[in-house]
Each structure stands twice: as C-alpha cells, then as structure tokens.
Amino acid sequence: MASKNRGPQRGGRDNQPDPITRWIVIGMVALVVVIGAIFTVVSNRSAENVALPPGASKDDGYGIVFNADKTPTINIWEDFQCPSCKRFEDINGGRISELITQGKAKVVFNTLSFLGPESVLAGMGGGCAADQGKFVEYKKFLYQNQQQEGSGTWTKQYVISMAAAMGLDENKFATCLNTEKYKKWLTNVSAAGGAANINGTPTYVINGEVIESDDQGVNYYTAEGFNAQLARFGIN
C-alpha cells in the first residue's frame, strides 16, 4: 500500500484521490475497537441464574462461605496464581482453617481470576472441588504446587491431575472442569470484586475493613502480624 508514497506530493499519475482506502481502514479500526470494547464490558458483567458451587453466596461477593452465622466476617480475595497469596497461605493458611473449624469467624473465600487463563482454570477447579466438599483442601494443594505466574503449566489436564492427586474424584472433577461449569460463577466473583473496589490480591477484609499490609506497621505475612489484626476484631 505504501509503495506509492513518495513523501511530499508532487502530483503525478499515482497520486489520484483515494479516500476509499482511508475510510476502509478507519472503519475497520473503529469496528474492532467498538466490538472489542463491548465484548469486554459484556463478558465481565455479573449474570443472574449462574451455577454456584455449594456454599457460594451472592451477598458475600459470590464467595464460598464457611460459618455463615458467625462473626466477624473475614473476606479473603485471592487468585490462586498470585505469589503473595501463596506467601500468606504458607504462613497463615493453617490459622484460617483453624478459625473455620473452631467457629471463630465467618470466612469467605472470594476467588478472583485476573492473572490470566491459568487463574481461570484453577478458579473453576475451586468450584469443582467445592462440589466435593474440599474447597479449602484444594486451594491449599494448589498453593503448595503453585507455578511461576503465567508459565502455562496449569492446563486443564494438569489441574485435573492435581485434583486427583489430592484425593478428589477425578472423573467428577474432570467433567466439572471440562464443561466449565463454574466459569460464569468466577465472572460474578470478579464483578463483585470490582464493585467492592478490590484492586489487588491478596486483599483481606474483616467486617468490611480492608486490612492493608505494610501500612502503618501492619504486616500480615507473619503469624504475629496477622494475629494482631484478628485480635482487633476480637479473635484470639
């Protein structure tokens, strides 16, 4: 196309008016932009009548809820691919499980999936694991086997094999993951995260208060630091 361009116009046979090409290009670019933008907005919207995993609750940002009747409420916004989430899990995951089993708090796991396709796969798997009553165990296992973010290791096959390795019913899990049963649920969680102004992972919210790490001496990447935050809400 550019072969006929020779800098400043000097007239000549090849320099006849040709607005058509310009308009075609402008039209195509505009079309791509508009379609892409609409697609992105629509596909990230929350939907009604979506299959929810057992324990997931719309009023809790579509997170999976444990101890629905207890207080305070701890919301854990995380992405299974996020390294800082793993760091927290390694240090305080046991404590969280303890809070659940001892009934010391309502714990809500809000699974975000914004770090790429592997996050979506792993997140959908979370719903599938919840189907078998093993969400927390699944999540723990994934963090233990976390890969470099975006490395491409977590394929469907790989996630299924992880589920099997941690003792889930492989066939059930595979069917659930292969049919992407909980893809829309993840979209709803993400939309809820957007609405709750969750702009990074991990984000811990206790009774609606966002706990910022490394802010004014708060560091929840230590057991003492996290316990100090829990203590502020009466959890000892």
Partner: protein, 164 residues
C-alpha cells in the same frame, strides 16, 4: 528567479526532513499506545482495577473505562502507525496524554502510592516504588508528538498520503 531556486530547494529539504519527524512522532505515540493497549486487553480486571486505584471516578464508571480504554488505545495506535487521519488521531492522542498526565499528577498530589497501570500492572504499590515523575515526563513527550502531528500532519509512509 535565480535567487529563488536555492530557497525553494531549502524549503523542499526541510519539508522532507519534517515528514521524517512526522513519521517518528506517529510511530512513537502510535507504537506506545498500541503496545500499552495490547498488553492490557487480556487482563480486563487488572485494567479496571488500575483505573479504580486512581480514585477519580465512581467505582463502576472507573471499571467501565478500564475495560474499554485498552481497545481505544489499540485503535488510536493503529491509526497513528498506519498514518490514517493523522491530524485528528494526533490531537486525540495528545489530549489523551494530557488526561493521563492530569490523573497521574493528581494521584501524586493526593499522596496515593499507585502504579500508573499504563502498561498493565497498576494499583497500589509501595510508596518507594512510585515513579510519577518519569511517567509524567514520558507522557509529556508523547503529548508533544501528538500536538506536532496536529500542527504538521504530513509524514512519510502514511496512508494519508495516498490520493492527495
């Protein structure tokens, strides 16, 4: 007449040189816009979160612009790279950069510590990691490219050159 000839040739030379400057401006502004948009398109949640982190718009509006901005950047970048509607694209690009500069400066002034989220990333970061000044200087440079194209839209290898 003999006196005019050198003047004409000088004018032609500077015209030719300026058309190369125009090409540079197009590729700089267009290239950065295209890359910045393309990097963000696969990560809409991140882009929306980066927009929300500026705390300038109501939450859902910020998310909305976060979703559509990358596409807009890619489109504008393409027009500039191809050299289509250069004058208008340059102006819009320059105004967009002014908007970015204003948003970054405002985040800085309000004492937020965020990444600009220009090329993915974004959201809150450690105060020691903010790079507001560099981000603003970069965007000023890009805004100048845009305004240059608005004032002198002619450039080498542009689709706009066809049919004049």
């Amino acid at each position: 007449m003999t006196e005019l000839n050198p003047a004409v040739s000088t004018a032609q030379k500077s015209q030719a040189l300026l058309s190369w400057v125009g090409l540079f401006a197009r590729l700089a502004l267009g290239g950065v816009l295209f890359a910045a948009g393309a990097i963000k398109i696969p990560y809409p949640y991140k882009a929306a979160a980066a927009m929300r982190a500026y705390e300038l718009l109501p939450n859902n509006l910020a998310s909305f612009f976060g979703y559509i901005l990358p596409w807009f950047e890619v489109g504008l970048g393409l027009l500039l790279i191809l050299g289509v509607a250069t004058r208008l694209s340059g102006l819009i690009g320059a105004l967009l950069m002014l908007l970015f500069i204003g948003a970054i400066a405002s985040a800085w002034a309000r004492g937020l510590s965020i990444d600009c989220g220009c090329f993915g990333g974004g959201g809150e970061i450690d105060p020691s990691q903010t790079r507001y000044l560099e981000e603003i200087i970069r965007d000023i440079g890009l805004a100048l490219c845009g305004f240059y194209l608005y004032l002198r839209p002619h450039s080498r290898f542009a689709l706009d050159n066809r049919g004049k």
